[in-house]
Amino acid sequence: MQIQPAMPRSWRPETKPHKFCPGCGHGIVLKALGEAIDELEIQDRVVFGCDIGCSLLSWDFFNVDTVQTHHGRTTPVMVGMKRANPELIVVAYMGDGGGYAIGTQHLVNAATRNDRITVILVNNTQYGMTGGQMAPTTLPGQKTETTPFGRDPELTGYPIQGPEMVASITRDGAYVARGTVARPRQLKEFIKRALQNQMAGRGFSFVEALSTCPTNWRTNAEDTWKFIEKEMTRYFKVGEVKVPPELARGKGEREDG
């Protein structure tokens, strides 16, 4: 992983270097988000909500108004905020445990209601903050602290297909994509489009980001990248899953709400 010297304008320099482990994907996702905010020039309108999980470490990450919430509850906080003040551009940032386990009902219902919020969900195949337990995203056979002999799909199922689920329960205005920290430029584009879709008032916007957790994967740099690029992509297909026709047409152009 390369650390680029240039920091997004919307980052808060005083709180850098950030608090994630070396090699952690969270920083890359937040860099993509920072660049998207910069390019859309929305630093003064964005409110960033972070979950409990390693995402909580980003509570003072940006020069952007930020609210830390509870594990799994970032979605409803941002839904309530957006409905109370639709001028705000709200981002709910969470892990796979927060979004797909404890907060599933919020994700499903916000998507169904087509709430005009942007959800960015970091899929690192396990619970990072609590020390590497199984998540709904854990791969078959993957060892975690609570599946020490590898995840057995017979007992605990297969990895959840988050974006595919969200795509299937949302209607036309929704934007759904899966990016990866292995392709930061593409990830930034996806996040940018998810923000533009909210700004246009079209609908629910969701980006899952495949991400690294070398600490709990217990991988060196080489194995970390092998895991995210080779192993994870066997179950998680990277790309846009659902794009509103208007957004597809406006590809690459600047859109404003």
């Binding site: 630093q43 909580l56 108004d65 830390q68 509870h70 905020m81 705000l88």
Partner: protein, 366 residues
């Protein structure tokens, strides 16, 4: 921008259910958002709110559960709008999670609780069994305000007051009613707070203020998680100090006939209505009895109650729960040699005959 019509103009006497009273009062208090999940016996608060919504520009969302109702409410508060929710029983249990966040982050959430029977699903009608949960729930220190109402006039007055208290002091505030209060009809005077000289404390946004964060102003960085024990300790002690400082301004009670009384009955909510009638009647007959009604259960009117107890009276706590109010009373009186007796009927209203008999026995030294 055209000014919105006022939900309640001037003053008018009406005859309606308590749930309807709450909806009107919240609107009169300047509340703009209600987020809620259906549960008996509070449903009609949402029903009336949604009917008032188009006319007065109010926001409503029926959420997927009470966790979401509580957290969306916090989102509304963060955006700078007076927001509230209403729940009961098992919903109150779930509501403690968002309210714990409100307590930590000083978010002026307002929650209406119409108590029903418990534990578990219990019954959907009535109880006073949510006193402990509402006053001390969550994984914290119970830094919240709880108003216990006992009439429709209380529901109206204290709903308005709850929003003012919440936004003035920035502690989550509960209105603790019950199913009987929610469902019964009785007269109430509704008024435009301004007409009564009640000033409405304005709401303010926590996020999205003018200017670019980090350029024109510092960003709002609001958190509830801390890295080390000492850091959280400092944060909690700051909350506690602030709470204890404002508590004397918030605390409320009502008392009658306590001077020269041999027995003082302590009750809140609708049970207080029963106690009040009995005590006043016995007093007329010359029985030395008085009553003490805590209006705020948090903060508890401990000083006032201690003054009453210091005269050596016997206290009789009467409640539709098995000693939940009594626990607050005993804590308030700790160190005093006061006798605290209990008449506990979890989930049912305590009858006036029963109360009178118990008081007379205690007066006679039994």
């Amino acid at each position: 921008m055209p000014t919105k019509p006022k939900p309640v103009e001037g003053e008018k006497k009406v005859f309606m259910t308590g749930n309807e009273v709450v909806a009107w009062a919240a609107a009169a208090a300047g509340a703009e958002c209600m987020y809620g999940y259906p549960i008996t016996p509070q449903n009609e608060i949402m029903h009336y709110w949604t009917r008032l919504a188009p006319k007065f520009g109010l926001i409503f969302l029926q959420t997927e559960d009470e966790l979401s109702a509580g957290f969306t409410m916090l989102g509304g508060v963060l955006a700078g709008r007076k927001s509230f929710t209403a729940t009961a029983g098992p919903g109150n249990t779930l509501m403690q999670e968002p309210l714990s966040m409100a307590e930590m982050m000083r978010l002026p959430a307002v929650v209406v609780i119409q108590q029903r029977g418990g534990p578990s699903t219990g019954q959907v009608v009535y109880s006073q069994q949510e006193v402990t949960l509402t006053s001390l729930g969550g994984n914290g220190e119970g830094l919240r305000v709880v108003y216990s109402t006992s009439s429709h006039q209380d529901l109206y007055d204290y709903t308005i007051k709850a929003f003012n208290t919440a936004w003035r002091y920035r502690f989550p505030t509960f209105l603790l009613g019950d199913g009987y209060q929610g469902k019964m009809r009785e007269p109430v005077v509704m008024y435009d707070p301004e007409v009564r000289g009640v000033e409405l404390v304005p709401a303010e946004p926590y996020v999205g203020r003018p200017g670019t964060p980090g350029v024109d102003r510092p960003p709002a960085h609001l958190r509830n998680a801390y890295s080390i024990e000492e850091e959280l300790y400092e944060a909690v002690m700051e909350l506690v100090r602030e709470y204890e400082k404002v508590a004397p301004e918030i605390v409320e009670h009502e008392a009658f006939g306590v001077d020269g009384a041999r027995v003082v009955a302590v009750a809140h909510g609708v049970v207080f209505r029963a106690v009040k009638g009995v005590v006043r009647e016995l007093r007329q007959q010359g029985v030395p009895v008085g009553y003490f009604r805590p209006i705020t259960l948090r903060p508890f009117p401990a000083d006032a109650l201690r003054r009453v107890a210091a005269t050596g009276v016997r206290l009789l706590v009467v409640e539709s729960a098995y000693g939940q109010l009594a626990r607050l009373v005993k804590e308030a009186l700790s160190g005093l040699p006061a006798e605290v007796h209990g008449l506990y009927k979890p989930g049912v209203l305590v009858g006036q005959g029963e109360i009178a008999t118990r008081i007379k026995t205690l007066v006679q030294g039994g």
